[in-house]
Structure formats: structure tokens, C-alpha cells
């Protein structure tokens, strides 16, 4: 919806006095669909959220709630494009290191106070304050805000952060380096404003229902830990008249099969489909079982550090193992949820990323297998000198199935012996982080919608590079890409080097596989980051 139609609708609505509450049970203002009387959206979350404090929250289900409760400078639309949030727009200097945001003058907190530039300054300073010690303070560092790193390190006072409220409606941000995609980063919950008065009044208890004051389309009205949380329409929200869903309920259901049963019993509007069940559900409920690409990759990483096995130092061995993985079997027989096979690290769904043609993706599996045998033989491994190594993964039914399938494929095709290690999550992270493995499972979801969120993982000095892959050319290309206008060529070359060197074995890209009640309107299936806002949803009359 562009600005003009939005204005037209707003004008129409106010002139005919159709208040938001009257919209329930009416028709949708743009699509004309009949709306359900009960505008409650109920969905399942796997686990209790960590917090609803925007500067503290660190998990996906918590961020989903925070995006409804609070509104940042910018938001995302259905397709993941940037749209105005509290800010109506921004300007930047030529060097792209100073951004000035203009705030809308009708934005209010749920207690009626206006949302001011100083609320953002307070929130951002809070995010880097060592006293709050936010687990996401590194995000402010990633945003290159002036002095963020020094403040986190305790070397400078919090007030030195490069953010200033020029006046009530103007926010200036100074960066330590040019960052073309800075505005995109302001959709992240860490950058949301915080209500200074309320936090001062209630301290740590400010996020409890009754205490909490927020500036988004919803307010938190109920929270029963490990059971559910409820958020309801915020009548003070500046765009309240366009909000249709009255109430959003998140139910904590740990077991996905129980969640599916409760969905089928009509208790939920949305739940995840357990691995392998998608084909059956799609046949039985074609309008409800949906699958769409996500911005995540599933892979195995070789240990290329000094502690790693000698065999993996030979790229031919790594390539042979990657070639012999029949990804179709994993995506179609094991997961069966519409996941795309992966031959590159960054998923095709990434914005502005064209999947480069890597050699392997054009070959048939039979061709890959015979090339794999050749390469492994060249490297000196065969029946007389079989390749053996261990592979680790964290406890989960589907990780186990995939690991077993991989081991079996390598055994049958290449005579390779694998030793599978199933580790509890924290033990797994520690083992992998200490390079105490030969081959380890890995998965990564993009922090923002740009290929560098994936490819940076393989930069030599990245803290996430658990396989300790080192390639000077890759480092150089990734550094150039940071400030380049056109990154396609650079990323293509990186992916080609990765295909050749095979520091990782990409297996598949994630899909969002859901059961979604067909009366839920406007779910953003095209938003690959799955940043959804309840204010954009509606329930259709059945």
C-alpha cells in the first residue's frame, strides 16, 4: 500500500466514522473480505520468551512479541522492504556516516506520552550500557555507532554514544564507518525506544503486565510464564485505526506433535509442522499446510584448524564428501517440507543475491558420485586406506536422521567410516567452539537480509568461524563488499571459492513450514526473515 492510498483510506475511515473496533465483523478496508467477529490470533511458541525488554530480548519468540509491543525508527512490510515506523524518513550525508531521522509527531506511548527522539537516545544508550549488560549490545557495535565499542568495553562513558536528540522530533546518529544498510538495521528490536520514566519507576519489574508502557500497536496485558502471553490493541498507537487484530495470544507448547494436535482441534491459528509430516498434511489440508523459503542454511563444517584431522587439510577430500551428499534424499525423504537443496552457503532467498552457478549444482548425482570417488582416490583414500572421522550434532530427531543418512551415503559411495556423536546443546557448542571435532553440524539464520550475514561467517577472524577456514582472497572480497555498491560479482566469487575449497558442506536451506488457519489473512510469506507484525494481519470470517 503506498502512502497515497494509505491517506485515502485514512480519510475515508475518519469521514465515515468507521472506528477500528467497528471494523471487526465488517469488511477489510482494502481487500473487501468479510472479517471475523473474533479478531484473536493465537499461535504456538516452542519455549517461553527470554524477555520483552527490547534492549534485553535475544530469542526469536521474544523478538516477535517485542516487534508488536514496540516500534522502532523503521519497520518492514510484507515483503521485508523498509517502511517508516516512528520515523517518517531519514537523510544522510555524502559520506553515509551521519543519519538524521525525522520522527512523526503523532507517535505516542501507551500511557499517552509522546514518543520523543530522547526516548530513542535513552534506549540506545541503555543497549550499550555495561550496567545493563545487554546480550545484544554487540548489535550496536555492528551498527558502527560512534563510540559503541569503547562504551561496551568500559573505556568511555555511556553519554559519549554517537546519538543525539537534536529536538523532540529529530534524531541524529553518527557512525564510525560508512554503512549503506544502516536504516535496515533500525528494524531490529535492540534499537527500539525505551520509556525512561517507567523504567525509573519500576526498575527490573517494568516489563510486567500492568507496569509496561510501550509504543507499538499492542500492549502486554497478561503473562503466565511457560503457559501463555497475551497482547492487546494499544489504542494510543498512532496508526491504531488500521489495526484489525484485537488480541494476540502466544501459547507455549514445548512438544510440536502436541501443538499440531491442538491446532487440529482448533485451539491455534498457527503452528510448525513436525519434520516429515508436511506431505501428509498438505494432502489432507491443502489450504492450511504452507511452506516458504527462510533465510537460514543447514550445513556441516570441517575442522580445518591445527587440531583437525590431517585428511581434511586436502580440499579434494572435502570436495569428495560434499559431492557424495545426495541432498535430494535429505530434503525430499527426510525433511519433506519443501526445503530447497543447498549448494551454496547463502540461500537464494537472500535479497540482492543471485545464486552463482557452482559446478556441483549442474551435475547429476551419479556424476557427482563418480567425481567424488575419483577425488578421494587421488587424495590417497580407498579400500586399503579408508577415510575415518567423527561427526557431531546436537540432540534432535531430525539432526540425527540427517547425520545417519550422511554417514550411510559416504559409507556406501566412498567406503568412508564415520563415528556419530550426539551431544547435548551446550556441550555441543563448547565442543565445536573449541575445535574438538572432525566434522560438525552448523546452522545459521541471517541477522539481516544481505548475503554478508552468511558469508562473513567464513572470514578468517570471525568469532563464528568454528571450522577455522582461512582464505585471504575471501577475506579481501568480503572486506571490499562492505562498502561496495554492487556486490553481486564479489559474492559470486566468494561462493565459487567456497565451492572449490569446500570448507563447509551446505545441505539445505530452511523453509518455514506451518499449519496456518486459512482464516488468517496477510501472513508475510515473502518476508524471508519472518519479521511479522500482528497489526498487518486480520482474521477472515469463516
Amino acid at each position: 500500500m503506498n502512502m497515497q492510498t494509505r491517506l485515502l483510506i485514512a480519510g475515508f475511515l475518519s469521514s465515515t466514522f468507521i472506528a477500528s473496533a467497528a471494523m471487526a465483523g465488517g469488511t477489510h478496508p482494502t481487500t473487501g473480505e468479510a472479517l471475523a467477529d473474533d479478531q484473536t490470533f493465537t499461535y504456538r511458541i516452542l519455549d517461553e520468551h527470554s524477555s520483552v525488554d527490547p534492549q534485553v530480548v535475544e530469542d526469536v519468540s521474544g523478538s516477535e512479541i517485542v516487534r508488536d509491543l514496540f516500534e522502532g525508527l523503521m519497520s518492514q512490510d510484507q515483503d521485508g522492504n523498509l517502511v517508516p515506523g516512528v520515523a517518517t524518513g531519514y537523510t544522510t550525508n555524502d559520506a553515509k556516516d551521519v543519519y538524521t531521522f525525522t520522527l512523526r509527531d503523532d507517535a505516542k506511548w501507551s500511557n499517552g506520552d509522546p514518543v520523543l527522539a530522547s526516548d530513542f537516545v535513552f534506549g540506545w544508550k541503555r543497549a550499550v550500557d555495561p550496567e545493563l549488560s545487554s546480550p545484544y549490545s554487540w548489535f550496536m557495535e555492528l551498527m558502527s555507532i560512534e563510540n559503541a565499542a569503547a562504551i561496551i568495553a568500559g573505556e568511555k562513558p555511556v553519554d559519549d554514544l554517537g546519538v543525539t536528540a537534536i529536538d523532540d522530533r529529530t534524531l541524529e546518529v553518527r557512525l564510525s564507518a560508512a554503512l549503506p544498510y544502516f536504516p535496515q538495521m533500525t528494524t531490529h528490536s535492540t534499537t527500539f525506544p525505551a520509556p525512561q520514566k517507567v523504567i525509573a519507576q519500576h526498575g527490573d519489574a517494568w516489563t510486567k503486565p500492568g507496569n509496561i508502557v510501550s509504543n507499538g500497536a499492542y500492549v502486554l496485558t497478561e503473562h503466565l510464564p511457560q503457559e501463555r502471553s497475551v497482547r492487546e490493541r494499544n489504542v494510543m498507537y498512532w496508526d491504531n485505526e488500521h489495526t484489525i487484530v484485537e488480541k494476540v495470544v502466544a501459547l507455549v507448547i514445548n512438544d510440536e506433535n502436541v501443538a499440531l494436535t491442538r491446532y487440529l482441534a482448533g485451539e491455534l491459528d498457527r503452528t510448525e509442522v513436525p519434520a516429515g509430516q508436511y506431505p501428509r498434511l498438505q494432502q489432507e489440508y491443502p489450504a492450511q499446510a504452507i511452506s516458504f523459503p527462510r533465510l537460514c542454511s543447514y550445513y556441516y563444517t570441517f575442522n580445518l584448524s591445527e587440531d583437525g584431522p590431517e585428511a581434511f587439510k586436502d580440499p579434494r577430500v572435502r570436495q569428495a564428501l560434499s559431492l557424495a551428499v545426495d541432498r535430494k534424499i535429505i530434503t525430499e525423504k527426510i525433511l519433506a517440507g519443501g526445503q530447497p537443496e543447498a549448494y551454496t552457503f547463502a540461500p537464494e532467498a537472500t535479497a540482492g543475491f543471485t545464486v552463482p552457478q557452482v559446478e556441483m549444482s549442474a551435475m547429476t548425482q551419479a556424476e557427482r558420485d563418480s567425481l567424488a570417488r575419483e577425488l578421494l582416490a587421488e587424495a590417497g583414500y580407498g579400500p586399503d586406506n579408508p577415510l575415518t572421522f567423527n561427526m557431531i550434532y546436537n540432540t534432535s530427531e531430525s539432526h540425527k536422521k540427517i547425520a545417519v543418512a550422511l554417514g550411510q551415503m559416504w559409507k556406501q559411495k566412498l567406503g568412508v567410516q564415520t563415528d556419530l556423536g550426539n551431544l547435548e546443546w551446550k556441550v555441543f557448542l563448547e565442543t565445536r567452539g573449541n575445535q574438538d571435532f572432525d566434522l560438525a553440524r552448523g546452522a545459521w539464520c541471517g541477522d539481516y537480509n544481505e548475503a554478508s550475514t552468511f558469508l562473513d561467517l567464513l572470514q578468517s577472524n570471525s568469532g563464528y568461524n568454528d571450522g577455522k577456514f582461512q582464505n585471504d582472497r575471501v577475506d579481501e572480497l568480503l572486506a571490499t563488499a562492505k562498502t561496495a555498491d554492487n556486490t553481486t560479482k564479489l559474492y559470486t566469487e566468494v561462493e565459487q571459492i567456497l565451492a572449490q575449497e569446500s570448507p563447509i558442506i551446505p545441505i539445505y536451506h530452511y523453509a518455514g513450514v506451518y499449519m496456518m488457519d486459512s482464516d488468517v489473512g496477510n501472513w508475510p510469506v515473502n518476508n524471508v526473515e519472518q519479521n511479522w507484525y500482528s497489526k498487518n494481519l486480520y482474521k477472515i470470517a469463516e
Binding site: 555495561p130 561496551i152 568500559g154 507448547i253 512438544d255 482441534a265 556441550v427
Partner: protein
């Protein structure tokens, strides 16, 4: 008797201290920590967080501070995972829930189990016996993680009679399935123990004597056989009582009851040290108290036992 109780309570103090210290060190020696994550935190950020929670201090100092806060302020510390809540909050919210469905399950398992066992024993080798034994074995073979999904499928999806989960302040509709799921297998065990104990008692000399002097069966059972029959059952019930009271992770997982069982297992997996220790102390204290009560109950059931 009073002296015995006081002595037992005094012994409980070092027992719980040992429990705290052992759990504290075991917990810290487990690989990974509360802030180990898929996205390792930059060292400076991690340092700030550890400083906030005192995790940068030497272990003995952490233990000392922890004990000091418990004893002086009755403060069990903050949760590392659920940053909006502290351990006192988590226990205050979860324990009443676990206590409610746990004590109901305990009552259900005991009353049904004991009745079934007695019925089976006094109608030894009749269809009642076979039925009760069959039911007991079937129930025992159905642990709560099997019962949970079966119940939800039956009562929520097929029959549409009960809500599939949640707590809602403990309304009866939300209680039925958790109680059945949690009590079934205990009921089976209690029925079997009661039956075999009763059979043994019924063939003992004092019962034969009572029978010989012409006492009616009903009085024989109620007045003479019941108490000795229940003695082994009581020793089984003690630990069961603690277990069901403190909640069940499976019940919490399947029925989203929000009890302490899920919080306990979750805290172990996420290395939420303070929550893990807090709940361990609660479990330990309950165990000590219930064991004492069980021992006192022995004396009532068996006059030969004296303290």
C-alpha cells in the same frame, strides 16, 4: 518422639548444605555456561554480563555469596535465561501449579491403587484379581510421556471434550488430563504392591488366628490386615509424593501447565545456574521433610516400630 524429630531436622541442615555444595560444583563443571550460545558473544559483552551476575568471581566466592543471600535475604538470585524474572518469582509461580496437580495425582493414584490392590488380594485368583492385575500392569506400562499424547488425541482432537493444554488458574477442565497422565503409572505400581503385600499378610499367623476365632472377613481386613498391608506401600509413597509434588517435566511439556518440572529441566539444559540450584534446594528440602513424615507414619502403621 519429639527428640527424634528434632534430631532428624538438625541432621537435615548439613544434608541440604552438602546437596547445595555438590550441586553447585557439579553444575559449574558441566560443559558450557548460561551464556554459551550459537552466536558466541564478543568477549567484552560476555565480560559485562558475567560481571553483572558475579560469574567473574572465583567459585568459592560465588558459593559464599549465594549461601549468604539465601540465608540472610531468602533471595535465590536472578534467572540468567528469563531476564524479566528471578528465581523466587519462578518458584512462586511454578510450585503452586505443580503442587495442585501433583497432590491430586497422588490422591488419585493412592486411592484407586490401594482399592484395586485390596480387591485383587481378597478375591485372589478370581476374575476381579485378573482384571485388577491386568489393569495395574497396563497402567504401569503407560508412563506419562505416552499417556500425555494419547489423552490429548482422545479427549481434545477426537472427542473435543477437554482443552488440549494450559492451566487457566487450575480450572477442573485443565486438571483432568494432567492428573490422569501423572497418576496412571503410580496407580499401577501401588495396586501391585498393595496386592502382594495383602496376600502375604492374609496368609500370616495372626490372620489365621483371627479367622480361627471366627472374625468376619470385613473386620478382619479393616481392623487387622490393612495396617500391615500398607507398610510397604507407605515406603513407596514417600518418594512418589515428593516426585509428583514437584511436578513432572512431561506433564508440563505436554499440557503447558507452567509447573516447576519444565522449569527444572529447562534450567539444567540452559545452565540457568540459579534456577537449577533454587529448585534443587526446594526438592531436597521436600525430600527430607517427606522422608521424616514417612518414617513417622511407619510408627503408626506398625506398633513394633518405636523411635
Amino acid at each position: 518422639m519429639i527428640a527424634y524429630i528434632i534430631r532428624r531436622l538438625l541432621i537435615a541442615i548439613p544434608t541440604i548444605l552438602v546437596l547445595i555444595v555438590a550441586s553447585f560444583f557439579l553444575m559449574h563443571f558441566a560443559p558450557g555456561g548460561p551464556f554459551t550460545s550459537e552466536r558466541p558473544l564478543p568477549p567484552q559483552v560476555l565480560a559485562n554480563i558475567e560481571a553483572r551476575y558475579g560469574l567473574d568471581q572465583p567459585l568459592w566466592k560465588q558459593l559464599y555469596d549465594y549461601l549468604f543471600n539465601i540465608i540472610v535475604h531468602f533471595d535465590f538470585g536472578p534467572s540468567f535465561k528469563f531476564k524479566d524474572r528471578d528465581v523466587n518469582d519462578i518458584i512462586a509461580q511454578g510450585f503452586p501449579i505443580s503442587f495442585t496437580y501433583g497432590s491430586l495425582s497422588f490422591l488419585a493414584a493412592t486411592s484407586v491403587g490401594v482399592s484395586l490392590g485390596i480387591a485383587a488380594a481378597i478375591r485372589h485368583n478370581t476374575w476381579i484379581d485378573y482384571f485388577a492385575v491386568g489393569l495395574g500392569i497396563a497402567a504401569q506400562a503407560l508412563p506419562n510421556f505416552i499417556m500425555g499424547p494419547i489423552l490429548i488425541l482422545t479427549f481434545t482432537l477426537w472427542l473435543g471434550l477437554l482443552p488440549g493444554g494450559g492451566w487457566n488458574g487450575g480450572q477442573w477442565q485443565y486438571l483432568i488430563m494432567p492428573v490422569i497422565a501423572l497418576s496412571t503409572s503410580y496407580m499401577g505400581s501401588i495396586a501391585r504392591i498393595t496386592r502382594s503385600s495383602m496376600l502375604e499378610v492374609m496368609s500370616s499367623n495372626f490372620i489365621r488366628t483371627a479367622r480361627a476365632k471366627g472374625l468376619p472377613t470385613r473386620i478382619l481386613i479393616w481392623r487387622h490386615a490393612l495396617k500391615p498391608t500398607l507398610l510397604p506401600v507407605v515406603s513407596y509413597l514417600g518418594p512418589v509424593f515428593v516426585y509428583v509434588l514437584t511436578g513432572s517435566v512431561f506433564v508440563d511439556m505436554y499440557f503447558s501447565t507452567g509447573g516447576l518440572g519444565q522449569a527444572y529441566v529447562g534450567s539444567a539444559l540452559s545452565r540457568d545456574y540459579a534456577v537449577l540450584l533454587g529448585v534443587t534446594i526446594l526438592y531436597g528440602t521436600l525430600t527430607v521433610v517427606v522422608n521424616l513424615l514417612t518414617d513417622l507414619a511407619y510408627a503408626w502403621f506398625d506398633p513394633k516400630i518405636r523411635y
